[in-house]
Symmetry: C2
């Protein structure tokens, strides 16, 4: 039988017919046709079990590269996005010493495993070379309920599809294709250039996560129900479909519309339910933001995602979308601006202002996240412990008093016990509070952190265009462009500048709405918190006799 | 000129005409008649200045013992009470990292110095061999505003005057003096044996601390105004007079009535005003407790302290009190009990119960003090810092938003700034809160810690008496006592037992009152705290626009 060398450590989950292997170990291949990315192997001690096929290097044949993304078994290989799945964090953890995780990227294993394919997705790999994250399975840190998985994915792919084509020359100097029907309009609103907004805003609900399984229950995945307000008809999507959508949107709109990364990286949680809920919430947040964007929400690919009628339509739409050529800087060619051409100096100043703003806001948001994280830790850790100790100390004193043998003690001791219990309740309230208020504040800022991060590349395209225009004279002298080209470049840079302004205005208006909302929610919950404690203390006070 | 050897390090306070000296150093005595416990000396470098006379050993004459408490200059020597004045603590400190000090005994130097005498007190030293603490001057840790003082007082005097005479035989077997007029009555109340309480309870106010000075302003002291509700006429007392009173009361009543130590040891504070206020508050608390005690409040010495008419009366009364022979265990000979003799086994069980109760309550009180101290530190330290940071983060975000250049931003930024400022205010409220609620809870428990501590020696007298009665038969066999003596002992032990019960019942009734009161105050202030914050947050919330 053929042998293979193990390339990365793999620890089997007990009871799942898997085999633990160590890097460098040689195993004998028993069955290479198991499917789902698994191979049945036997180690030198004669133990048999399943091993992920991309963890081993079979002989000299078949797998010239362990990261080759095609296999004879039609597997959907996993590609890590530079994120180490064993890094740990503990946001929203039930353990009070850990805080809201704004830095760490712990991912939770849900028992869901998407590194194989199913029939529904059989065309998945055909059309793309850089696989998405899939529902990356990760160690859940507990060991017992989860699974230790691939800890050695070293291959980092750039998630930003258009960064290869960041050069805006494609738009500035190219002969553009004829104007199609999908035109994007920018007009002058009260606040300056704005996108054309729809009268009936799109919205959708992400809900009802369901676990599905494959390979006789060995592998499982989560499917979310996505229901848009347009059709009011749910469609099912797995995480990897969201990821596919993200990539399409980034590729197509990225230079004009910063597409925030999917929230997977920040999703943490010790328990499967908690994890699924959190991921769903964040997918909901991401989808909402996309729905709110006039360009994204109107796009064919987004509409397809939300309201395909059947699998056939979905597949056809997917293929079409993946073949779309009007992507990257070319998106600017679809934009109509009804406004006079902008002065290049103005354009540059605006761009610098936006750069500075997004940078300082990013700092501010990170600062708030840091402070919030520290506060989260205190509120769920030492503080409730202290209230608990105060409560215990009161109750303890009450017990001591009860042994006095003195008459007429009970009113005091009962009241003291009640006060003690109240402080234990307060401990509980304090520990639970961050989930009620700080959570949403942190989530919103976390979302903005992602959004602001995605501005970087978008702004880079604009800066490159401005530089190109500045080089105009030099290029003319060098005979690289002619006068007409220069005029065209200035004109097209102006279109880009209007786009950027429309996008920034969109961002600002959303930001004002979002922060207004989140601050109100935070303060409302904080008020409720303080009032709840005050009312509990009032009840406790009432137990004491007025002397 | 005479020379002297320095026995302990002394660090001069700058600008006060003092001279720093080191242990072992030899100084030349310039003027031994400076007075006030000071001697003018010159060191080997020719520097001159004042040195405390009990820090140096003059030649071979005059001071056979550095702690001899008489000097030619009529000084009132300081005697440390086993308390190391350089030990540090920081309760009620303005520095947020330090907590309520329930352990450390830092004392604050007030610029007040009582180790000399003044005319008003010229008979002070004549009548006692163990000087009181006086207003022990201590290092205030700051160095500049305070004074480094006697760090080497190794002599520890037992502050409990009757511990030499803890042996209750004096009462159990002695031929008692004829019954005088000062009889103490115990009768059977609802809760068992109780002291006879006065219909018009005594009370007094300690207020209006005034700084006096001596030696041309070099030395100063604080005088407190004590006004009893009986005469409503204030009398002035310095700390050392309180201390004198404490000693008289302990000596006279200690075996029957535990006299809590004066609060000096726990008094801390970085600033003179704070220190004086705190000491005054605690002297007030101590006086109140004494006033509330039916035996103490009725005693001649206590009445003298509260309501002497002039210096002559005070001095005469002091001398009389110091010569009182009915002190220590003999106090039991002044007690009249109208109740049947108690069974010795009952007596022993009661005594054990009280022992156990005071011990467990002491543990409970210390536990609460520890928890409170930790909470104090958190509430004055990290917690407000965090609220401040949250406030700053909001305000920072508001500033960033203000640079957006987007129209219609100000409603949000104003509201965000207001919210930020509110959290800064909350930080302040949180930091100030312990002084409003935890302070009184800690003070009360601190007082009870002292009170429970003073029970130890009182209970020891009772236990010794019980043991003595148990030895009765053996003593009879040894011919040490006769049958009549044995009967007398049992009878007198019964009187002691009634006294202890009356005292415990007094303690319990006070304890119930005190804890009821302190818990109510604590909860009321806590409610106010939470409600204040809630209402501030409501104002902040109102600034946001409802979208």
């Amino acid at each position: 039988m053929a042998t293979a060398q193990v390339m990365y450590d793999f620890i089997a989950e007990p009871g799942n017919n898997e085999l633990s292997v160590k890097e460098g170990e040689v195993v004998t291949l028993i069955n290479q046709n198991v499917g789902g990315g698994w191979i049945e192997a036997q180690n030198s001690r004669g133990e048999c079990g399943l091993v992920p096929e991309d963890y081993i290097k079979v002989g000299t044949a078949a797998y010239p590269d362990a990261y080759s993304h095609k296999s004879a078994n039609n597997t959907n290989n996993q590609i890590a996005n530079g994120n180490n799945p064993v890094s740990r964090g503990g946001g929203y953890s039930s353990e009070p010493t850990e805080g809201w995780n704004s830095q760490g990227h712990t991912q939770h294993h849900t028992g869901e495993d998407d590194d194989d394919d199913d029939e529904w997705d059989e065309d998945w790999d055909d059309s793309r070379s850089t696989g998405g994250d899939g529902d990356t399975p990760v160690d859940d840190e507990g060991g017992a309920t989860g699974r230790n998985t691939h800890t050695h994915r070293k291959l980092t792919l750039n998630k930003f599809p258009f960064s290869k084509t960041i050069n805006p020359e494609l738009f500035l100097l190219a002969k553009l294709p004829p104007k199609g029907k999908d035109r994007l309009s920018i007009y002058m609103g009260d606040v300056g250039p704005v996108w054309l907004y729809s009268d009936s805003p799109l919205d959708c609900v992400v809900a009802d996560p369901k676990k599905g399984s494959k390979l006789y229950g060995l592998k499982s995945y989560i499917e979310y129900q996505v229901t848009p307000n347009t059709t009011n008809r749910p469609v099912n999507h797995r995480y990897k479909h969201f990821d596919w959508l993200y990539e399409r949107l980034s590729e197509k709109f990225g230079p004009a519309v910063p597409i925030p990364a999917l929230p997977d990286k920040q999703v943490t949680g010790r328990f499967e339910e908690e994890f699924i809920k959190m991921r769903m919430e964040r997918l909901q947040g991401w989808m909402c933001r996309m729905c709110r964007h006039p360009v994204v929400s109107n796009s064919e690919v987004f509409q397809l995602f939300l309201s395909y009628n059947d699998e056939k339509e979905w597949k056809t739409g997917k293929r079409k979308s993946e073949k779309d050529e009007c992507v990257g800087p070319l998106i600017f060619s679809t934009i109509d601006v009804e406004a006079p051409e902008l002065d290049p100096i103005d354009v540059e100043q605006k761009c610098e202002m936006y750069s500075k703003f997004t940078k300082t806001m990013d700092d501010g948001v990170k600062d708030l996240l840091n402070v919030g994280n520290i506060h989260w830790k205190r509120c769920t850790g030492p503080l409730p412990k202290e209230y608990q100790k105060i409560g215990k100390a009161f109750q303890n004193l009450s017990s001591v008093f009860n042994t006095s043998g003195y008459q007429g003690e009970t009113t005091l001791t009962d009241a003291l016990t009640a006060a003690g219990k109240t402080y234990e309740e307060i401990a509980q309230i304090v520990a639970e509070q961050p989930k009620k208020d700080l959570h949403f504040l942190m989530e919103t800022n976390q979302e903005y952190k992602g959004l602001l991060g995605s501005f970087h590349d978008t702004l880079a395209v604009h800066k490159a265009a401005i530089d190109k225009v500045k080089e105009g004279d030099k290029m003319m002298l060098a005979g690289k462009i002619n006068t007409q080209d220069k005029v065209t470049m200035a004109k097209r840079t102006s279109i880009m500048a209007y786009t950027l302004q429309a996008e920034m205005n969109h961002f600002h208006s959303n930001r004002i709405y979002d922060y207004n909302r989140v601050m109100q929610c935070y303060l409302e919950e904080q008020i409720r918190f303080y009032e709840t404690i005050a009312s509990k203390l009032k009840l406790a006070l009432g137990q004491f006799t007025t002397l």
